[in-house]
């Protein structure tokens, strides 16, 4: 295992120390592993918190700031944070207007956030709503299973809901927008290589020089299928087809197209993929109204990418364009 770390057991706390040193506009509760806005709670504003296992950086801590999240809870690598962390974060950001929990649909995340919400309701009497993102079309949806994973669309949702909350929307409205974004967004990912959980010390799976995993999540899990390595054009087709067919996105739709890097793939390659995405969507008569390219929701050093589409209307465009000031996404301020 080759990593720039001191000790597999201190990776998360060491990284939090680095975030604190690099971003004075953020506050960090090192014991509870909560990153929050220095100006929390923001009077009158609905609080937005998210969290999950570490190893997906910049998600979520890199999205804390004006116009996006109020707080993010960091778990161990690929392991959901614990309810007391989310409970603490909820109390830190609640200004009386209530708090939205943004939860990626993984059993661990869902159960731990559920317990946190129960605690907050009992002890602190905070109004909490939860949105569970489940945009990954690689997994069939079903009532009898854990359902689809929350992946790339979570990033877009945090930005858009953050803008709504910053603009003064109440908890019900922010939650409604969250459901709309989750409903209009779809994603799928692939891997060229596995990744190594520091505490495990070796790659989660092995992949031959000529193979790729299609339909991966963001925890280094193997994907739905193992296939011969394809070209960027083939891979873009392979990921976009199920996405477009699922919603479906149709001729005349305007979308935000998001090509995400899994952590070990350089920007040069992500742009090669984006060119193919643009070509394919053009063929479908779907217009790219907004674009995002880069490593925003990663799996440690995994090489690969995911593609997300979000259908846009004027409201979503306005909220996407609204000013945001975080470590990883910033514009307009």
């Amino acid at each position: 295992m080759k990593k720039l770390i001191n000790d597999p057991t201190t990776v998360v706390t060491d990284a939090l120390a680095g975030i604190a040193a690099a971003h004075p506009e953020l506050r960090i509760d090192h014991e509870r592993k909560v990153i929050y806005r220095a100006d929390s709670p923001v009077a009158g504003k609905v609080g937005l918190i998210s969290g999950g296992g570490s190893g997906h950086e910049p998600l979520h801590g890199g999205f804390v700031g004006v116009g996006m999240l109020d707080a993010a809870c960091a778990g161990e690598v690929f392991t959901s944070p614990t309810p007391d962390q989310m409970h603490e974060a909820t109390k830190l950001v609640d200004a009386g207007a209530g708090v939205l929990h943004i939860v990626k649909n993984y059993t661990g995340d869902v159960l731990n956030f559920e317990m946190a919400a129960e605690m907050a309701a009992e002890e602190a009497g905070v109004k909490v709503e939860a949105i569970v993102t489940n945009d990954d079309v690689a997994v069939e949806d079903s009532l009898y299973t854990a359902g689809r994973r929350g992946v790339g669309v979570t990033v877009l949702l945090e930005k858009i809901c953050g803008a709504a909350a910053e603009a003064g929307a109440d908890l019900a409205s922010v939650a409604a927008i969250a459901r709309k974004v989750n409903g209009w967004g779809r994603s799928m990912g692939m891997a060229l290589t596995s990744c190594t959980v520091p505490a495990a010390g070796k790659p989660t799976f092995e992949l031959a020089e000529t193979e790729m995993e299609i339909g991966i999540g963001i925890h280094g899990e193997p994907g739905r299928h193992r296939e011969p390595l394809g070209t960027a054009a083939e891979i873009a087709e392979r990921l976009l087809d199920p996405i477009v067919r699922d919603l479906p996105y149709t001729r005349g739709d305007a979308v935000l197209a998001f090509v995400n890097g899994m952590g070990g793939t350089p920007l040069l390659e992500l742009y090669v993929v984006f060119a193919e995405v643009a070509r394919i969507l053009d063929g479908h008569g779907i217009t790219i109204e907004r674009a995002l390219v880069g490593p925003y929701i990663t799996s440690l050093e995994m090489a690969g990418c995911s593609i997300s589409l979000l259908k846009l209307d004027d409201e979503l465009v306005r909220l996407w364009d609204a000013p945001v000031r975080t470590a990883a996404l910033r514009w307009g301020v």
Binding site: T79, T82, V139
Partner: protein
Amino acid sequence: MADDVVTVARLEAWVRLFADLIAEHRGYLTELDSAIGDADHGINMDRGMQAVRAKLEAAPLGATDELFKLVGMTLVSSIGGASGPLYGTFFLRFGTACGPSVALSADDVVKAFRAGVEGLVARGRPELGDKTMYDSLHPALEALDAAVGVGMSTGEAFAAAWQAAIRGRDDTIPMVARKGRASYLGERSAGHQDPGATSAALLFEAAAGTFEN
């Protein structure tokens, strides 16, 4: 075995032995999780049970409900991942069912186990055949209940429950997962033993080990 009482000291010994077995199988559990999950179940459970062990060193022996509230809360606040709330809820409900007593009858123990498993089911909504820890916990609980019902000693009863847990664990191998991370693999999840069902079998191995003679 009506006269066969279970002291809080015995119950704490059970928890400590479970911690030992988890530490011993840490790598194996993570190995299983890397095949159909995210390679951390052993790491998670060991982090949690080490925390429990530390708390037990500090805290003086109290009543059974205190003991299991401590265990449950510690697991909930130190594991994260699916297993934290699931094992945590199991022990929390187990403790509530025990009440403030310092010694339980065998029937009380069965009631406590049932309450714990029901709490876990309420939390995770697993069904039999979903390829989860429940597939090992459920048969173990029923075996324990039956054994106590026919008057076996706690030692014999837990031994029977352990055997049932192991069978339940092995039965997860061919299953296609419908809950937890493994469900994302679809058909690819078949042919692998479920990590949580494996740690759940260790919970009963610890009980059998604690209560034999």
